[in-house]
Structures are given as C-alpha cells and as structure tokens.
Symmetry: C2
Subunit: 405 residues, 2 copies
C-alpha cells in the first residue's frame, strides 16, 4: 500500500506563491470595474478641487475687508457679481467688493475667504452688510487640497470600490484597465457521482463539489468552466484534464486524490506535462489527500472528494490565485472549551463566533470530516498548529471568518 | 431663509424600516444563486447521508465478530462481497462475514463498524484477517447524522454562500427561489455637473455621484438605472423623478437637497404623490441636508451633492433596502487620539484601523466634508454619538468597516 509524502501548509504556500496566473488585462467602463482588481497605477490628471471652491453658500471676500465686522457694526461691501453654479466668476475682487457664491462655487481672483450667508444682509442688489469677520481661508477648499495633480490615487492590484468610482469620475477618468477574471476548469471524478438533478440509485450520490466550486469561483471573481463528472478510469481522467488545461488558467479536480487503486488524478497529472505533481498530501485536517501540480504554466489542484475538505482547500490554496483576492478577514477571540488535536498536522476547526461586549467567544463545532451541514452552520475556522496537541479553554485564537459575497 | 427640521438617525431608521421594497422573486439554478438572498425556507428532502456510509477504506463488520482481534491473534472473516463505489451491497452480513467497502461506500445490512484496511490482511479472495477490534459504530457515518429529512437547512432571507450550494446539490436541489435584485433609479441634479468623459469648463465639475452610486448599487446587489444629469429647474427635476418612480423600486437623487433657491428636490417629491417628504434634514455629519420621502410605495432619497455625504447616506439608509444586505461588519477598537465634536448631531468620522497584537488601534482621518480623497483612504467609520462633545484618546469605539465586494 502506498503512502502520502505529506508537506506542511507553509511548504504548500511556497508552491502556491510560485504560481504565475496571468489571465491578461482588459479595459472597462469605470462602473463595470467595481469589485475588480486594477491592472494599472492611476495618477491624478488634475488637482482636486481644480479651483478654489466655497464650502458654503455666502459671499467671497478679502478677509481684511471684513475684519472687525459685527452685528452692530457691519462692513458694507459692493456685490460685483452673483455667481451661478457651473460658471466661473468674470470679475476679480478689488478692495471693498465681494462676489456671491453658492456651495461648491468657484472663488473669484483675490478672494481668500467666504462669509456664510447667515451672517450677511442684502441692502440692495449691489450692496451687502457683513455681520461677522472671517479668518483668511475660512470656508474655502483650496485648489489641490484634496488630491494633487500627479499623485498616485489608486495602485495596481487595488480592488475597485464604489468610492473609487466617485474619485475616478470626479477626475474625468471614464475607463480603467482591470485584471481579467481567471478561467477555472472544474472536473468532478467518482464512480458514485451523478449530476445534481438526475435520479440516483442507492449507493450513488449527487455531485456536490462541482456546483459548490463553480459557485465559489463565481463569487470570488473567477469564471468557472465545468467539465462534468468523469468516471474513475485513467484514460477518461487524463483526456478531460488535458482539455481543461488547454482551455483554462487553473484546473481543479475533485475525488481520486488518495493512493487507492482507483485514484488516478496524480497519475493523470504526471502523464500530461511537466513539472507534474509537486505536492501529494498536506499536513492538514481536513485536506490531507490533496494534490497540487503544474502542467506547463497551469496550476492543477486535486481536491479531496470530501466537500468540507474541498471547499477549505479551495479557500486556502485556490482563492489566492483568483484576481480580486483580498486578505482574509480575521478576528482575535477566546476559546470557550478545550480542543484536542492529534499533532503532526494543522487542524482547521470550524467554529461559531459570538462577541460578548468586546470579548469574542469562540465555540468549536465538532463534526465528522465529511459533514456538509457544518459548512453552513459555522462562522469561520480556527487553526490548531501542526506541533500542538490541542488548545485549552480560554486560549487566544485567530478566527478566519467565512467570507460573504 | 428656510431651515431644516432635523431628525435623529434613530428617527430616520424608523422610517427606513417602515419601507416595503418588494422586487419579487425568481427561480434560478443554484450556482446562479450564489451571493443572492433566498426567498424561501428550504427543507431537506432526505436524510444526509442517505445510507450508513463508511468513513474509511476497509471492511464493514459486525463489531462482535472482531472483538479481541489483534496482530498476533487476528479474527478471520469471510469476504462475501467487494463493493465498488456507486453501488449498493447485494448481501447482508451474517456472523463471521464482512464486506470490503471504499471510503463513502454504503454499508451492508447488519454491519455496524468498519475496520480500516491498514489493520487487515487479505488471506485469499474470500478471506481476510482483522488485526484490530473496533467499537460499535466506529468509522461509520450513520444515515441522517449530518442532516435529518425535513430539517430546515436554509432560511428565507439567508445569503446563499458557496457552501450552501454544496449542501443543496448534495440533496438533489437544482433550483431555488431568490429575491430579485432591486431596480434603483439614479438622478444627478446640478447646473455645475457635466457627464464624466465630456469636456468641462472652469467652474463646472464632472458628475461623480452618478457613477459612484451606480457602482454601489451594482456591487451590493441592486440594478442601477441611470437617468442622467438634470439641471436645477423644477420641471426637469419633477418629470425625471416621475419617470424614475414609475420604473424603479427605489429612486435616488443627488444635489438640490438643501433649502436654497435652486434646491427643487423636496418640492418635486411633494408634487408627484403622497406621502411625499418624510424627512428633510438629519442630525448627521456628513449628511445633514438629506431628504427621505415616499411616492406611493416607492422610497425616494434626496442625497447631498457632496460625495462623502452621498456615499455614507447610501450605505446607512439605502443599502439596507437592497436584497443581499448582510449586517455591517464591525470591530471594537481604541482611539489613538482625541476627536472633538460639536454635539447635537451624530458625527461619522472616517478612520484607519491597525491591529497591534490583539488590540485594534483607531486613527481618525480629519478632512473637510467634501473630500473625495478620504473615501479611498479610510478603512471605515466610527460614530461620535449625538449628545457627545467628542471622544478621548484611548476610548473604546465600534468601527464600521468599509465593506469590500
């Protein structure tokens, strides 16, 4: 009987990090870029604001003209212009004059401050009384105060958020280059599997990893390409894998990853190209019988048929290779009971999380490794390290949250 | 000069919670349901597993037949069947017999345990030596152990995650009913606005809230319907609003929400239908000049033209009405400096967050209220409560994380 040559999770990440998945770039309208990964640095083409703007409705003044103004002794100024939104002032301020400006409106030349309309009184169309003095620069947003021309406003690799779209459009940017979604081939293997929706006999089960992995790819920015269920026959596994490797940037297989007599995934990967199988067996629970290989430049993952294991290994090892990957959300919490562990492998234990005041309580969900139910009941995972024989009640742990869409 | 009759954020949420947005339901393939909101409770049509399954490769036995078995004194059993995956056993166990089963394979009648293949030795095609005793139930997943027939496995209102798809497909469920995306009408108002991508003159600015709000709707599960830029003319605002109310389930306007002479949004809402304007002014910074109204059954939001305010109010008040709304992600952290506040209004202060060991440090980003740059620099908001005059360095605060896609 063959045995797996088990690698640590750290060793696995070294391999994952060496993979270069390059789906290319595409230029899209900014609104369609939301949620995607930027493929270029973006520099501001302008100062923002582009001109000195008023932060309030009021009168643009030279501050020294209203110095000492008060309710009982207002300063009288000549109104040389009443500015409408969307227009630029045509006059510049001379001593003793002012321009009425709306919020966001452009200040005339020589104006350094704006008096809020609440502190003014119109004496005539051309004359206003100012009841309050202002500091130089008061109620003014200076040209370039928010963003400077030439400043890097977004970086290659950033995820584009709705707020980014406000910024881009305010600078007149209408299109950006984003990283194309990665095409992920998905092959389910197993004599016991039938397609979901078809009738099944006793002893058979509907394929759950195929649809689950397609959904995961879709939610996390990839394009799933489903190659159906392949029976546990070497030639069938090999020919389907070959087709998928030609058409996709990453290929996933599920099932057939152990070392039993009908486990053909490792052999199929080896038979198609080099370097072939890089890892067969991970010191990880669930997830031990996982294969990671490479055929030419295409990463190939043999995930276990066990759905808990397959979905965990997808998140740990495949998701980082999809475009819009963002760091995992983690929290620090405290265990509410002991967790035993065998040692010699990294245990991923599903947990429920509960914040009580500012203390986060962590409750492990114990279940047999192929429980599908626990997948929907848990809030996240905690990790029992490889050389630990368990964690004690009250111990501080990092929670890897099950991420929502 | 008119003044706003300002309401507290709590009063605003009472109004928001009274809105009924009903975009209807639609039946979709399970993979297309990922990230969407379930419109029905789902009951398990079967036990899961549907039959007693082996958790390992090995021999299904009656535990009493191998009681006391050891390496030096193995129990000898007759192999009456060697089961292939995807088939059901055709024989039942009689005393002294066993069936070879693969991982996940169905147990024959009368078998209560499985001995791992590692602890067995094939003497002939029909005879195996068992080197280890097992407890009753060992290495067996009992029918219904994971999920019971009739159990509610997902609830109406749940967000569908990839793991949910594994569960649904393993139960043979191929389609589910989800809540349709909400159609959100977006109208930008302002004489100073030009469409992003068009040339603009000094004093004009490109429309940033239109694209920003479209992106936010899109990212968070709605369907944006853009009605373009409307000049600050009562009849234009009214006719465009009327069209949008007829075509969408929610309508957003930006700009023209204050009480200046060219602010027509409130008047337009009042002129079209009842109950009209429900709130005009919120004790919130940024976001004071916000209008919330209702025309027949359609919620209408007049958001400020200030992008920081518009995007914050979208998240606070509009996003909860979109389908796939999940609770906001929050963290508890500690301020690294004082934050002053005027009192009498709820201040939303943009912050950067930094976890140092298990303590979360919160650094406020001070910026003028219409800084677009801060939108992309912050990690989230903290709230200075309405009756507070500020928060002190070291104080414990709740952080509302800027949510990613």
């Amino acid at each position: 009987m063959a045995f797996l040559n088990v690698k640590s999770v750290e060793e696995v990440y070294k391999v994952i990090n060496s993979f270069k998945v390059n789906p290319g770039e595409q230029i899209v309208d900014i609104v369609d870029a939301v949620g995607k990964t930027l493929a270029e640095d973006i520099y501001s083409p302008y100062d923002l604001p582009q001109f000195n703007r008023s932060a309030v409705d009021g009168y643009a003044v030279r501050w020294e003209d209203v110095s000492g103004a008060s309710e009982s002794l207002p300063s009288l100024l000549e109104v040389i212009e009443r500015l409408e939104m969307g227009t630029a002032p045509t006059n510049e301020l001379k001593p003793g004059s002012c321009v009425e400006v709306p919020t966001g409106g452009m200040l005339p030349k020589n104006a350094d401050s704006v008096v809020m309309v609440e502190y003014t009184e119109n004496f005539s169309d051309h004359e206003v009384g100012i009841h309050k003095s202002v500091a130089s620069g008061e109620n003014v947003i200076i040209k370039g105060e928010d963003i400077k021309k030439g400043e890097v406003i977004m970086n290659k690799g950033d995820q584009v958020l709705p707020e980014s779209i406000n910024l881009l459009s305010s600078l007149g940017v209408t299109k950006v280059s984003i990283v194309k979604p990665v095409r992920v081939g998905i092959i389910s293997t197993g004599d016991e599997l039938v397609e979901t929706g078809e009738e099944w006999c006793l002893g058979e089960i509907p394929n759950s990893n195929g649809p689950g992995l397609m959904a995961a790819c879709k939610l996390w920015g990839g394009i799933p390409e489903y190659y159906g269920i392949v029976k546990d026959q070497f030639n069938d596994v090999k020919s389907t894998l070959k087709k998928a490797v030609n058409e996709c940037e990453i290929v996933l297989l599920t099932g057939g990853t152990s070392v039993g007599k009908k486990d053909y995934v490792a052999e199929a990967i080896e038979s198609i190209g080099t370097p072939g199988v890089l890892i067969h067996g991970i010191a990880l629970k669930p997830g031990k019988p996982t294969i990671i290989g490479q055929i030419d430049n295409t990463p190939v993952f043999g995930l276990s048929g066990n759905p808990v294991s397959a979905m965990l290994c997808f998140k740990l090892f495949v998701r980082p290779l999809l475009n819009n990957y963002t760091e995992e959300k983690t929290l620090i919490g405290y265990l509410n009971q002991n967790i035993p562990s065998a040692g010699g492998r990294q245990d991923y234990v599903p947990v429920k999380v509960n914040q009580v005041k500012d203390k986060i309580e962590v409750k492990p969900l114990f279940a047999k490794s192929n429980s599908i139910g626990v997948l929907t009941k848990m809030d996240g995972y905690i990790i029992v390290p490889i050389h630990s024989e368990g964690l004690a009640k009250g111990e501080k742990v990092k929670i890897y949250l099950k991420e929502r869409g």
